[in-house]
């Protein structure tokens, strides 16, 4: 269990630390102005990639669960409760 929690923390830190570093390193050079349009649309596209990836994985998992564990699936096995008939 500790190994799994540690792995999760390391994974989270691997994402968080570079992001924080990136934020702190952003420059404020006078006379050079950021392109607001590029920044905002860039953020939008990046977050859309995250959103659609998560959406695809979650919907795929739901579809798989529904098909795999339907009663009519030849591979379906009764649960221990169903097999014993006492619930």
């Amino acid at each position: 269990m500790k190994v799994i929690i540690g792995f999760g923390l390391v994974l989270a830190l691997l994402i968080v630390l570079p992001s924080v570093q990136n934020v702190m390193a952003a420059g404020d050079t006078p006379g050079e102005y950021l392109d607001r349009k590029e920044l905002i649309w860039g953020l939008f596209y990046r977050l859309m990639i995250v959103a659609f990836t998560v959406g695809t994985v979650v919907s795929g998992m739901i579809v798989w669960l529904v098909l795999r564990f339907r009663e009519s699936n030849p591979k379906a096995k009764p649960t221990s409760y169903e097999a014993e008939g006492n619930w």
């Binding site: 994974l11 952003a26 102005y33």
Partner: protein, 143 residues
């Protein structure tokens, strides 16, 4: 608890936490960059009222329904409203900020392409809201 392994669940939790951190950090960073107004930005006072926009430059020059800016300069907008809530929008430059009576809102941008662009109200503000428009003229320096 059943005796089965829980490692897939923990990996799932870790990935979700990592994604949330990534999304939060990215959004925070972009917001921080956008809200940081350059010190040499020129002030434009924008006033919305039913149903037109007026603009006042630092030197006192006033414009109605038109705004002339120089390419490559940074501009800081102080946005006021005289009556109801409006929303100052320059779509081409992703500028959008509400004009609220009794309150001064701020937004800034630096036009990097010369040309004519639409200014519009993006908050329904009454009968002629649809026509509360203006034009932004971005001109090359010295033109």
């Amino acid at each position: 608890m059943s005796g089965h392994s829980h490692w897939p669940e923990w990996i799932y939790v870790a990935v979700v936490i990592a994604l949330m951190c990534y999304v939060g950090a990215e959004a925070w960073n972009v917001e921080r960059l956008i809200e940081h107004v350059p010190e040499d930005a020129k002030l434009i006072t924008v006033t919305g009222q039913q149903w037109l926009w007026t603009f006042e430059h630092e030197d006192g020059t006033k414009e109605i329904g038109e705004l002339h800016l120089e390419k490559g300069e940074a501009y800081r907008f102080e946005i006021h409203s005289k009556d109801v809530i409006h929303s100052f929008n320059i779509h081409e430059y992703t500028v959008l900020m509400d004009a609220v009576p009794g309150r001064v809102n701020h937004v800034w941008f630096s036009p990097n392409v010369a040309g004519e662009f639409d200014i519009q109200c993006r908050e329904y503000c009454g009968l002629i809201h649809y026509n509360m428009r203006g034009t932004l003229f971005v001109e090359d320096k010295g033109a």
